[in-house]
Subunit: 309 residues, 2 copies
């Protein structure tokens, strides 16, 4: 299996507590790190979780509230001090890009790496793509412009069957073609179909991040069929009106969204500071969608696995 | 004794580590909190150390390096969320005021408190004064404009001697005058000298904060005779050249400054990330100035006391 891990660096909401840090996650895709939101303390959490600064190339920011961005100046300054080279790309709304560029140009003008901005909008669109993944931003329903992110692994390579390859005498140069699904034609015109030489690829997995948002049909549509869903669950049932007024979700609403979207696993977070223990949120979510777990700082989830029920 | 406590929230240097947080201190003067520098994580440390947001009225920023200011946006946003009213005054250089105002006006425009700026320069001058203390800023020697802060308690009130006051029949309205040192004149023209009615006040204490700086005669002059000195000690003897090149001090240089200034107690901090243990820095400092201790996160020092030797 190729690595597809989710690291939770912070899963609290805006009000600072001693139990949670503000929003920040790091997705490890084949040892390339993608950060999603960057609340205050992100750089320290990366150190604590032994996530390498040298592997962090992309930072995706959902919206411009302080608890999702105030870790950026410190993190990027530390990358500079650590002698980080290459480029770091921040995917962010235009106002955020302007603020961050201005801040970094003042506090950290000498940077050994190239700080780049991918200015994103609030329409549903692919904002990043490489050999392994596609990242799609999609609109959430919050009181300021806000997007979620969906990361889909691309189809993976087929597995070579070494014995079959030896038996049919496939030369080394043709191996890569087999991995991509091509048949093998011998010099004398015999075609060996690919499925005799390879085994099917590992399944491609998907992950979606929805914070901050109230429930909505368009959100459900955008996250359809994901293997893992992180959905904010700021409140419990008893605060449903408050959740609505503040454009947030309850744990139950997060779970209903997971069910409606046909997600396989649900991770809830962005907990209000009013909770000293999120068990009630977990219980309420599981009534609607059993495959739910609570986010927690320093939690690492292998997204190739599913929650055991 | 009136309260005069120093809380260490962060005593690391610019490079983030898991052992230290960036620079931040809170001085508790009679339950009024004054923050000195505000590195990332300050708001969380305040929560952890149970320092009340409602008591924080002044924030003093020594210079505009990220490890001394990046906690400000998060802290001030949290004050707003916590419904903090009244005013919060940030004493800071003009560029810093501009950056912070812009940042807060974008991320936290609705503030129930009044965010004020006292734009300071790099000359030696009184920048704040109230009934209890005087705060003086003075130039340090760093590679960017940088000031230290000296906080001097004003002379305190004399202690009433209840038995003497009763014996001479001093009325209640005259008690405050006695505390301020006035004599008591009876209706028939007899003057009772103050020293018969009161005991001397508690001593007034002083504290100076010097970070970041290399050693210098002007710095020593500004901190002359302080009861407690916090002085940066980024490096040990083995890195003296590096300290010089980067406009920092070694632990030994910090201790020599304390001795030259006639300070009574020394607290060293702003430790380089290269040290996993600062014992060697402490040993080197104590060779020059025995009354030295190491700063450490969550340390609280009663500045009315002295280090026992």
């Amino acid at each position: 299996m190729t690595r597809f891990d989710l690291n939770i660096l912070g899963c609290g909401s805006a009000t600072c507590t001693t139990r949670h840090l503000p929003s920040c996650q790091v997705l490890n895709v084949r040892d390339n790190l993608l950060m999603i939101d960057c609340g205050e303390g992100a750089q320290r959490s990366m150190r604590q979780m032994r996530l390498k600064f040298s592997r962090l190339n992309h930072i995706f920011i959902s919206h411009l509230h302080g608890d999702h961005v105030f870790g950026l100046p410190g993190l990027l300054s530390t990358l500079a001090l650590a002698g980080r080279t290459g480029s770091v790309i921040v995917h962010i709304f235009s106002d955020g890009a302007e603020w961050l560029r201005r801040t970094m140009d003042y506090y950290c003008r000498e940077r050994p790496f190239d700080l780049q901005f991918n200015v994103i909008g609030i329409t549903r669109q692919v904002i990043y793509e490489d050999n392994g993944i596609v990242v799609t931003a999609f609109p959430l329903k919050h009181r300021v412009p806000c997007v979620g992110f969906r990361i889909d692994e691309k189809p993976k390579l087929r597995h070579i069957l070494p014995e079959a390859v030896a038996r049919y005498g496939v030369p080394r140069w043709a191996i890569d073609g087999l991995r991509h699904g091509r048949d093998w034609a011998t010099a004398d015109g015999v075609t060996v179909p690919n499925h005799l030489l390879t085994a099917p690829p590992d399944p491609s997995r998907s992950y979606a991040y929805c914070s901050d948002t109230m429930p909505g049909a368009r959100v459900v549509q955008a996250i359809e069929g994901v293997d893992w869903l992180y959905h904010e669950a700021t409140y419990g049932d008893e605060c449903q009106q408050q959740a609505h007024n503040r454009y947030h979700s309850t744990a139950r609403q997060a779970a209903i969204a997971a069910r409606q979207a046909g997600a396989r696993n649900l991770l809830i977070g962005h907990f209000s500071s009013r909770y000293n223990d999120e068990t009630s949120l977990l219980d309420q979510a599981r009534e609607e969608f059993p495959a739910t777990i609570l986010a927690q700082e320093q939690l690492v989830i292998d997204l190739n696995q599913n929650i055991a029920l």
